[in-house]
């Protein structure tokens, strides 16, 4: 990995990042549990194992920065400030869900804190993030747009169009490829012309190819801080490839059996959460403080799950609302 990690962030920041990862992990474990109970329907794509990317970036972003992510975006939306009970309610299709039950797992959005959407057509959100960064420059807001996508997205046209335009217009946008080695079932390496699907393409757009250990929260946080600061200072876009791994299958229909046992075992041994907890314990965070975080996240997730379970079902009169800005759906007089 070519990004060096220095002494690392201070203990308070690290504890914050640890807490964020744990929140994302527990949120998704419960989302899975509620699916098994028949309460979460449809599909969902868990980011369990990839939390260091989401937490490292979210911790480094400014409150008004903008996040764009994929259908594997529970963690990003949560960590950018979506209320957990309402986020879980959305997975349950309830009316108090963040999208009123109209979005579902693949479209989680919480615009009030800059979680500008989860996009389920591979690659679509890269140019959208570019546009939001363009508006940030024109309006002088100082915002940075951060766009997360999978390794598979590097082979779709929108990736290349977005990178080129972002560089040509010199926009404050950070592209973050979460390279979890697989698309749905097919290894990215078997369908890609270069070894590093994002980093090796950076040179084509005059960018540095930043390759980071996506299971190392400190490396993610420091990389994020660097590229975001550069973007905010007018230094233009960056492309980061964070190498990581999803513990489970692509979606919940997928047991992930196409992956070699040994590979899975090695990556599970590099689970970012226990690794980070151990690192923090050896770097000045007392067991007491870590324990406090663990317990408080337990209480936090229980409250969120209770809230979601108790949330009302949507009523059918919401079906035809919010197609248009007038709140309705009329297309004729």
């Amino acid at each position: 990995m070519n990004v060096a990690v220095g002494a690392g962030p201070d203990v308070d920041t690290r504890l914050r990042v640890y807490r964020m990862m744990l929140e994302a992990r527990r949120f998704e474990e419960f989302a899975h549990q509620l699916f098994l109970e028949g309460l979460v329907k449809g599909t969902s794509h868990l980011g369990i194992g990839q939390e260091a990317v989401a937490a490292g970036f979210a911790a480094a972003m400014r409150a008004d920065d903008l996040t764009f992510c994929t259908y594997r975006g529970h963690n990003h939306t949560l960590l950018r400030g979506a209320p957990p009970g309402r986020l879980m309610s959305e997975l349950l299709g309830r009316s108090e869900g963040v999208c009123g039950g109209k979005g579902g797992s693949m479209h989680l959005t919480w615009a009030p804190t800059g979680a500008m959407g989860s996009y389920a057509i591979v690659g679509a959100h890269l140019p959208i993030a570019v546009g939001s960064a363009w508006a940030a420059v024109e309006r002088g807001t100082g915002q940075v747009a951060v766009c997360f996508f999978g390794d598979g997205a590097t082979n779709i046209g929108a990736f290349h169009e977005a990178l080129n335009l972002a560089v040509v217009w010199d926009l404050p946008v950070v592209f973050v490829c979460e390279n979890n080695l697989y698309m749905e079932y097919t290894p990215i390496g078997s369908v890609t012309a270069v070894e590093r699907p994002a980093a090796d393409r950076a040179a084509a757009y005059g960018l540095e190819g930043l390759l980071v250990d996506g299971n190392d929260p400190d490396a993610m946080y420091e990389t994020a801080s660097d590229v975001i600061a550069r973007a905010r200072a007018g230094g233009g876009p960056s492309l980061v490839e964070a190498v990581t791994y999803r513990h489970g299958g692509h979606s919940r229909a997928d047991p992930g059996t196409y992956r070699p046992d040994e590979e899975v075992r090695q990556w599970l041994a590099r689970d970012p959460i226990p690794m980070y907890r151990a690192r923090l314990a050896g770097a000045g965070a007392s067991e007491e403080r870590l324990e406090e975080v663990d317990q408080s996240v337990e209480a936090w997730i229980e409250a969120a799950v209770e809230e979601a379970k108790a949330a009302p079902e949507p009523t059918v009169d919401s079906i035809a609302t919010e197609v248009w800005a007038d709140g309705g759906s009329r297309w004729r007089n």
Binding site: L66, V98, C99, G100, K102, G103, H107, T109, W110, A111, P112, M116, G117, Y119, I121, A124, H125, L126, P127, I128, A129, V130, G131, S132, A133, W134, A135, A136, E138, R139, T141, Q143, A145, G157, A158, E161, A162, N164, L165, V168, T321, E322, V323, W324, A325, D326, G327, S329, R330, W331, R332, N333
Partner: protein, 325 residues
């Protein structure tokens, strides 16, 4: 005071009117800035509003449409040009899956006040990939407003309405009309989306038309008049929202309806309009509704073939006379 200007001049005038009024209105697209547009619909805007607000893009339709979507989410009211409407196929994900659905999927959290302008339609011998009339693509997707003006005045009034509209609008400018002239009044001009215009009144038949088919329908009505048939001609102007009230009231007056559609037959806008008439005005009808459309074929390039394909004045006249016999 009124002035005679071309349809293409009206585009630049409309954009200038809105950019002058609101400094969050931006224009991007291929060749729109320095070159003034490949159809010369945007000359002078770069000089007047500067290179930040009028900007050339790479040939990246997904990036262009993604950029206006993201910008609209973050405080601008951007206008994108897609050079030929046929090219919408290259960025249809952004248009149909993203822009059209975002407000609904986020339950109103994200508004997208943006306009996608595009040169549409045939009659210019460009062949099947640069001549399509694609209003029905946009019309079939919930969440998009669809505008297709036929006169310079409506270009200005409806462009202003589209830029000011809080929802995404696909604005079809007809290539075959760019050189046509019409009167526009002095001063600011702002129309309303969803209002059809009854451009001629007659009691024997209603002819519903859009964009370049409007002048043809008017010419046909003129020739029919010489043969004792008086037709009402309605310029729909907007497909979404659709002014069904005007359509149904003219049907009630004439009892006979013809659509004139430049699009290929299947699922053209007329099919939807006719089904509304059948459901809601069946007993007002004195004869079957007739759709006059392009055949269900890709458009040929040769002038002889193209002219025989797109509905012509003669075909409208003949069809109406035969149906009324």
């Amino acid at each position: 005071m009124a002035e005679l200007i071309t349809y293409r001049e009206a585009v630049a005038r409309a954009l200038a009117q809105e950019m002058e009024r609101d400094d969050t209105v931006y224009l991007i697209g291929e060749d729109v800035a320095a070159a003034g547009g490949v159809f010369k619909t945007t000359p002078g805007l770069l000089e007047r509003f500067g290179e930040r607000r009028v900007r050339d893009t790479p040939i990246s339709e997904e990036a262009i449409i993604g950029a206006v979507m993201g910008a609209a989410m973050n405080g601008l009211r951007p206008v994108a040009e897609i050079m030929f409407s046929d090219f919408l196929a290259t960025c249809w994900d952004l248009v149909a899956n993203q822009i059209a659905k975002t407000r609904y999927m986020t339950d109103g959290q994200v508004a997208l006040p943006l306009v996608i302008r595009t040169a549409n339609g045939g009659g210019v011998r460009f062949g099947a990939q640069h001549s399509q009339s694609l209003e029905n693509w946009a019309m079939s997707v919930p969440g998009l407003k669809v505008v297709a003006p036929s006169t310079p005045r409506d270009v200005i009034a409806l462009m202003a309405a589209s830029v000011r509209d809080p929802d995404p609008v696909i604005f079809f400018e007809h290539k075959g009309l760019f050189a046509s002239r019409g009167e526009v009044p002095d001063g600011e001009l702002v129309g309303r989306l969803g209002e059809a215009s009854v451009v001629r009144s007659g009691s024997d038949a209603t002819i519903l038309a859009l964009a370049a088919m409007v002048p043809k329908a008017l010419q046909a009505a003129h020739e029919l008049s010489a043969r004792g048939i008086e037709a009402t001609v309605v310029d729909l102007r907007c497909l979404v929202p659709l002014d069904t009230r005007t359509i149904l009231s003219t049907v009630a007056e004439t009892g006979r309806v013809f659509t004139v559609e430049e699009n290929p037959r299947l699922c053209g806008w007329g099919a939807e309009v006719v089904s509304i008439i059948a459901e809601e005005a069946f007993y007002d009808l004195d004869s079957p509704v007739v759709r006059i459309t392009t055949d269900h074929i890709p458009l040929p390039a040769s002038d002889i073939l193209e002219d025989a394909t797109i509905p012509s004045v003669a075909r409208i006249v003949d069809t109406v006379i035969r149906s009324l016999d």
